[in-house]
């Protein structure tokens, strides 16, 4: 075997035989340099291959460039937001990862999200808290309004963030795990499903419901409280002037904080508006008011005006309404004016509370509307059914899965041992999976 480099060297000598020893020395140096370079490259390549086995080398370079570009873009963009890859919306997180994925990555900026409260308004308040907590952690401005409870109490009860630097720690964890564990060679390079979800898509943080957010975090953030204490009675547009007062204060906040689309502040941020229990008995018209307009009209007008306000600014509004106090039809106009509408139906206090198959969940979650903004097709999941569950530290929305027939089989056998007489009746009741006794094989 002739070494490639040495043959080239010979050829060069052959072409210029009169070349002095200096030239040959230079050439030899070059050859040495090349060899060294090749060996260095080989070693480096091996190192890189160890680091990222799934990427070919040229892909890796593009990936690095892309990452740098994305990082630059992220520096320019607003903290706590991301652009949707599908329709280019600017998204903010609702604070609940499962809700974000359901809505297509997060809540689009400039939209109104309507929550039809559960009977006691307990779970809708949790969603509201998550939404506001995410705003404070992402350093967004916040406006919280409520007539039922003191809004400062809602802020005090916000859940604490678990890990602010989630991504880097997770990635390091993954690399540690991959070093230790031995996986079958075919699956070695495949990413685990959880890590891919968190790395690419989720823009929010994780929260612990059992702890409250630290006082310093709340003090340092820009929060505007609206309690409905000082209301001018000048307007006659609404039967209850509180609606108009709230709209005005939202507008003032948008104007003063330079959240309008046309504004160009030094540091762009997003305004999160949380309106808790809108249209509850506290929002009914005053006794003294001369107008006897239907109070639901107020609600329709308010939501429509809020839609117009939010559309013109970097703002997201989440409004919770105690629907069970209204007729169904009267709220449809509000749903039409909002962009995302959802309904919570808690099991507590109903017969579903004792249903074995639903024991894992606390209630049903219905996504009534998911508007198609900037697109022809809505991203509504359609046929899927969802339920929400509340654990000590976490609230999540999952696809509703009924447990297997397994439980019923146990119950069936247990009961048949005791009451043999009712055997024939029980066989009719149990599902198709429960008839193991009648099988011949």
């Amino acid at each position: 075997m002739v070494n490639c480099d040495s043959s080239r060297l010979r050829r060069r000598h052959f072409i210029c035989p009169l070349s002095s020893s200096l030239v040959s020395r230079r050439l030899s140096r070059r050859v040495e340099g090349k060899r060294n370079k090749q060996t260095r490259e080989r070693k480096e390549g091996e190192k890189k291959e160890v680091q990222v086995t799934s990427f070919p080398r040229f892909c890796w370079r593009y990936y690095q460039k892309l990452r740098i570009l994305m990082e630059k873009k992220a520096q320019k963009s607003i903290p706590g937001t991301a652009y949707s890859s599908q329709n280019g919306h600017l998204l903010v997180s609702s604070g609940i990862p499962s809700l974000d994925t359901l809505l297509g990555g997060g809540i689009p900026v400039g939209t109104v999200m309507l929550i039809e409260e559960d009977f006691h308004g307990f779970y809708s308040k949790i969603i509201m808290k998550y939404f506001l907590a995410e705003g404070i952690v992402s350093k967004h401005s916040t406006l919280i309004a409520s007539q039922d409870v003191n809004p400062s109490n809602i802020i005090k009860e916000l859940p604490a963030v678990i890990d602010s630097d989630l991504d880097s720690s997770e990635i390091s964890n993954i690399s540690e795990i991959s070093d230790k564990m031995k996986i079958a060679f075919r699956y070695q390079n495949l990413p685990t499903s959880d890590s891919s979800k968190n790395r690419g898509r989720h823009i929010g943080h994780l929260y612990d419901l059992s702890k409250n957010m630290s006082f310093s975090d709340i003090e340092n953030s820009d929060i505007c409280y609206w309690t409905g204490q000082r209301i001018e009675n000048g307007t006659r547009l609404y039967s209850n002037p509180a609606y108009n007062a709230l709209l005005r204060s939202i507008r003032n906040k948008i104007r003063d904080g330079k959240f309008y689309l046309k504004d160009s502040p030094e540091k762009r941020s997003v305004l999160r508006i949380g309106v808790h229990s809108l249209g509850s008995p506290m929002w009914l018209p005053h006794r003294k008011s001369l107008h006897s307009i239907d109070s639901t009209r107020d609600l329709d007008k308010f939501i429509f005006c809020l839609r117009a306000l939010v559309r013109s600014a970097y703002a997201v509004a989440v409004v919770s309404i105690p629907t069970h106090l209204y007729h169904e039809i009267s709220l449809e106009r509000c749903i039409h004016s909002s962009d995302i509408a959802m309904r919570l139906q808690a099991f507590s206090g109903t017969e579903l509370e004792y249903n074995q198959s639903l024991a894992e969940y606390q209630g049903f979650f219905y996504l009534t509307k998911l508007a198609a903004n900037n697109s022809l097709a809505s991203r509504h999941p359609g046929t899927m059914e969802y339920a929400f569950k509340l654990r000590r530290k976490k609230f999540s929305i999952d696809v509703l899965h009924l447990p297997p027939e397994f439980y019923n089989v146990f119950e069936y056998y247990f009961e048949t041992d005791i009451h043999d007489d009712s055997d024939s009746k029980k066989q009719d009741i149990s599902g198709c999976g429960g008839h193991t006794k009648s099988l011949d094989f």
Binding site: L309, R311, R333, H336, L376, S378, G382
Partner: protein, 264 residues
């Protein structure tokens, strides 16, 4: 050669061109809106979105180089522009050329919150009066060149949200319809139906309309293959379609034929 000549003759007689969206686009070929249709009403059922009918109509208007006055109550101009780009037309270019004019109550409403005038005033009758005056001025500017002028109101039911009485809304629609006495104006009303007052308004519009389009969600619930039901009523015939909405377009098909169109 003779077959080719026949083909050419047929295409000339029917005036089919491949660039014509009425022939190539599924929604527009289902709608078959021509210059003779003066009043078009669109009824949007609850849980349905009829916005695609309007955006497709705009596509036809832009292609035919007609004039357009668009009244936005429900969506912003950005929304129409983004969808327009997906469907293959540039709305803002039309605005620059002055062939399209926009009235944007959704934008003006923000200033009205503070000042309490125009769209937010106590005398609700004045809201429709001022809106009509604006529309009339707009149409006056757009007229000329023997082109058709379209007025699209998206959507009429928001007047109800602003506190306008049904009586006043009906008289507003009546005034707009009277505009069509001039042979070069066509009026398109989009109306979301959720309450009884919306229903009254929609029934009235259906009665006078040349083309009545109904967009509704499926009665039986949601389906993966079909987004909703599209019904087109003319005085002569009624056509039912199922449609499936995609990010960049709509597919329409006759009920029961979705399987042939979706899984090819």
């Amino acid at each position: 050669m003779s077959a080719f000549r026949d083909f050419l003759n047929i295409t000339r007689s029917k005036m089919i061109s491949l660039g014509d969206p009425v022939a190539s686009n599924a929604v527009l070929s289902a709608l078959q809106v021509s210059g003779d249709d003066r009043i078009i009403s669109i009824k949007e059922g609850s849980n349905a979105d009829s916005n695609f009918v309007i955006t497709h109509l705009i596509k036809q208007i832009v292609h035919e180089k007609n004039r357009l006055c668009l009244v936005n109550f429900h969506n912003t101009i950005d929304h129409y522009q983004t969808i327009g780009k997906k469907l293959g037309y540039d709305l803002l270019k039309g605005v620059e050329d002055d062939s399209i004019r926009m009235l944007q109550p959704i934008k003006e409403l923000v200033d009205n919150i503070e000042q309490e005038d125009k769209y937010l005033q106590e005398n609700t009758e004045n809201i429709v009066k001022q809106l009509y005056a604006d529309i009339r001025d707009c149409l006056r500017c757009l007229k000329g060149d023997n082109k058709l002028v379209y007025l699209i109101v998206d959507d009429l039911s928001h007047l109800h949200d602003l506190g306008v009485d049904v009586k006043d809304t009906l008289s507003f629609t009546h005034y707009c319809m009277n505009l069509t006495d001039n042979n070069d104006i066509t009026v398109v009303f989009n109306n979301h139906v959720s309450t009884k007052t919306d229903e009254i308004l929609s029934n009235n519009l259906q009665y006078v309309a040349d083309v009545h389009v109904e967009v509704a969600a499926l009665k039986t619930g949601s389906s993966r293959d079909i987004t909703g039901l599209l019904t087109i009523r003319r005085k002569s015939a009624v056509n039912h379609y199922h449609y499936k909405a995609y990010d960049r377009g709509i597919k329409t098909f006759h009920p029961g034929e979705s399987i042939y169109h979706l899984y090819q």
